[in-house]
């Protein structure tokens, strides 16, 4: 028996550890190198059990490897405009305490990274924006951002902070038990509050398709919040393996797989993340291409794919028409535990992108029938 992919770590620097590393080891996690960090891919319960627990109860994830940073300027408008020069979302009109998903774009409109942008709810912090970027991209992102900021806006890396995500239908009750204010929050909002007595920034968001929260606190204190949450019978630790299957079922992009520097937000079907004012005014990198794609359409687009059989179609699988013409590639794919079957996403030629279109996925040399399907594959549980 041989695994298809093995990670070659020879000569790689020693992996970094999050503030929760020792806890993962103590919980019996299987640790793997991920984006330069030694991270839990699963706990003894296993990926299927962890995935299903998150969909039914509440899963607790360590996402401290992700990059947390603040953009700080003299006032909101100045900081927002500095960021708007780099991303296509409307940040100037982002209300205090609100959060938005966006992409850091290169001059060609390709995606350097995707990120979350939050405007503080606290008037004393007006002029500060909180960013969360991907672990594997964070160093390059920071260099890219810093090189393009006006002199009165600074990027501050929050490397002294940890970040955990509590996701699932039981997340509200579990967090409200130690931070009552959490129950009052709406989806994609953020507040500063005490969680188990510790000052934390809490946002009602996540990357699993479920209701839930992301909790940022000092690295020295995040473990106490983690431990307190795990005392709740509804909460179990969940590894990166289930995080990946959860986000796949939710139809969410994984940077470096479903989106990268060769894909635009329009090709990636992320139009919803570019607000009307920015579409009309432009003023972000690659705006000409993106405005052209919005007006004229794209030649290829990211779609959901449901194989008809039981065999998963994984990243790199060719997508063909029933006549055998190759029209695209799978960028993420696997087995959806909640779906109880395989699901995938990938890019196909626009002519073959309508939901219901029958296509073949070339798995181990054999064409397996599949159908273009709307995403998410599993209905989301966001608290609007």
């Amino acid at each position: 028996m041989a695994a298809e992919a093995t990670i070659d770590t020879a000569g790689a620097p020693a992996p970094l550890k999050t503030p929760l590393h020792a806890r993962h080891v103590a919980l019996g996690a299987r640790m793997v190198p991920f984006a330069g960090y030694d991270m839990p891919v699963q706990y003894p319960a296993g990926i299927l059990t962890e995935h299903n627990w998150t969909r039914e109860k509440a899963g607790l994830f360590d996402v401290s490897h992700m990059g947390q940073a603040f953009l700080v300027g003299p006032d909101h408008e100045t900081t927002a405009k500095a960021l708007e020069a780099l991303i296509p979302a409307d940040i100037v009109n982002l209300a205090p305490g609100k959060q938005r998903y966006s992409q850091l774009l290169n001059e060609e409109g390709g995606i350097l990274d995707d990120l979350m942008v939050t405007r503080s709810a606290d008037p004393d912090e007006d002029g500060a924006l909180y960013l969360v970027v991907n672990a594997a991209c964070k160093d390059a992102d920071y260099v890219h951002i810093e090189a393009r900021l006006p002199s009165n806006v600074k990027l501050i890396r929050a490397e002294h902070r940890g970040l955990i995500a509590l996701q699932g239908p039981g997340a509200e009750a579990a967090l409200a038990a130690i931070a009552p204010e959490a129950a009052e929050m709406g989806f994609m909002t953020s507040r500063t509050m005490k969680v188990a007595g510790i000052k934390a920034n809490v946002s009602r968001s996540g990357y699993t398709g479920e209701d839930g929260y992301e909790i940022s606190a000092a690295a020295s204190k995040i473990g106490e919040i983690w431990d307190t949450l795990l005392l709740d019978a509804r909460v179990k630790p969940i590894g990166l393996g289930a995080r990946d299957s959860l986000r796949l079922e939710a139809g969410l992009c994984l940077y470096g797989h479903d989106i990268d520097t060769t894909t635009s937000p329009i090709e990636a079907a992320l139009n919803w993340s570019i607000q009307k004012r920015r579409r009309e005014e432009g003023g972000f990198p690659g705006a000409a291409r993106i405005q052209r794609e919005l007006a004229e359409g794209v030649s290829r687009i990211r779609v959901g794919l449901l194989p008809e059989g039981r065999a998963p179609a994984r990243e790199g699988t060719e997508i063909a028409t029933p006549e055998g013409e190759v029209i695209g590639t799978v960028t993420s794919g696997g087995f959806g535990p909640t779906l109880n079957g395989p699901c995938a996403m990938g890019y196909v030629a626009k002519a073959h992108s309508a939901p219901g279109t029958r296509l073949d996925l070339i798995v181990r040399g054999k064409p397996l029938p599949a159908v273009v399907a709307p995403m998410p594959f599993v209905p989301n549980g966001y608290k609007r």
Partner: protein, 124 residues
């Protein structure tokens, strides 16, 4: 009493006369994690020692299962289609993959016995 032999790739073959039952070891299933799909060969297919015999997919990845010896597939475990998790629950029993008519019994000599295999796993 049927004898079980193991390959370095963690396949087992339980030998009963000239037929061997092939599956993956308990160590292999624990390394794979939750099995969600198994692709089995057709009955009658000729397998060669070390060649691909089946594919086992976990949530995370696909892995090839190699034939521990050469021979013809005489039966496959159809139960795995509806219950691939059996590979995790009972790898040495109900989680078997296929039965093979052993072409050359001498090929079994290159495989490990139970004690040798357990020692081999300890070194990994």
């Amino acid at each position: 009493m049927a004898e079980t032999r193991y390959s370095k790739d963690h396949e087992y073959i339980r030998i009963e006369g000239d037929v061997g039952t092939v599956g993956i070891s308990d160590y292999a299933q624990s390394q794979l994690g939750d099995v969600v799909f198994v692709e089995l060969p057709s009955v009658g297919k000729a397998l060669s020692k070390g060649g691909e015999a089946a594919v086992v997919e976990s949530v995370k990845a696909a892995s090839e299962v190699y034939a521990p010896v050469s021979g013809e597939v005489v039966e496959v475990n159809a139960e795995l289609e509806g219950a691939p998790g059996t590979v995790n629950e009972d790898p040495a029993g109900k989680g078997w993959f296929l039965k093979i008519r052993i072409k050359d019994a001498a090929e079994l000599d290159g495989l490990m016995n139970e004690a040798e295999y357990q020692n081999y796993v300890k070194t990994l």
